[in-house]
């Protein structure tokens, strides 16, 4: 049976963070999901990881898709149930949400920042944690993610260039687990 949501989790030899990631998924009140793991035990790098989404697209079967990499986690137990309510009531092709990003210089910041909220994506100001995408749309554009850097931006940019309906949910739903650089993304 087709699950409502597929979590796509790219993994790279980070078992402790992966455990936190899985625990955050398993705490969901609504269990109508599956989680697909795309492992990179050889540490082939970001480009390979970005292209792995396309090459594993046949494994993604949920009605909606959310990329939740091993160094990230959900921070609310009602993520799935909330997204399902939106999907039921609206024709949302893309659901945009907010997330916490741990930045090297600025501590914990919210992405997208307020000045970029309800605007087309800006490089370095959007994360995979910010969009849940209807599966057919995700499959149609996931090749755009196959970039050496900023695959999330290129993917989101491609979505916004189409005439898809976008639902903006002003709620912080997920967070990164490790510190990164906003400018280096």
């Amino acid at each position: 049976m087709t699950p409502f949501l597929t979590f796509v989790t790219r993994c790279c030899n980070r078992p402790q963070m992966l455990a936190t990631n899985i625990a955050s998924v398993e705490m969901q009140i609504d269990n109508d999901y599956n989680q697909v793991f795309i492992d990179d035990p050889l540490r082939l790098g970001l480009y390979a990881a970005n292209c792995n989404l396309y090459s594993n697209r046949h494994r993604v079967t949920g009605k909606y898709v959310y990329i939740l990499d091993d160094d990230t986690a959900l921070i609310v137990p009602d993520f799935v149930s909330t997204i399902r309510q939106l999907a039921k009531n609206q024709k949302c092709d893309i659901i945009m949400v907010k997330s916490y990003w741990l930045a090297t210089s600025q501590g914990r910041v919210i992405l997208p920042r307020q000045e970029f909220w309800q605007r087309p994506p800006v490089k370095g100001q959007i994360d995979t944690l910010n969009f849940i995408v209807r599966n057919g749309v995700w499959q149609r554009h996931i090749h755009e993610f196959c970039q050496p850097r900023c695959g999330d931006f290129h993917f989101a940019k491609a979505l916004f260039e189409q005439d898809y309906s976008i639902c903006w949910l002003d709620e912080i739903m997920a967070a990164t687990q490790q510190i990164g650089s906003l400018t280096g993304r």
Binding site: I29, P77, D78, S81, T82, Q85, L86, K88, N89, Q90, K91, C92, Q118, F160, D163, Y164, S165, I166, C167, W168, L169, D170, E171
Partner: protein
Amino acid sequence: MATYTFLVVPVTSDGTYIVNPTNNTVTAIETYLNAQGALGYAVVGIITGRDGQQKLILQKAS
């Protein structure tokens, strides 16, 4: 491109008051939305947590 805007707010069991999760104080929904500049939102969904806490999903009128 069609766009829709939503908020999620915790409410009391009768659905009439917004709950502040930090200090558990409550505010009438109309007062809260007015303060947010968000009057005109409509309820499109209700979710209930394991602890029984209810949340309203509100959609801004387009």
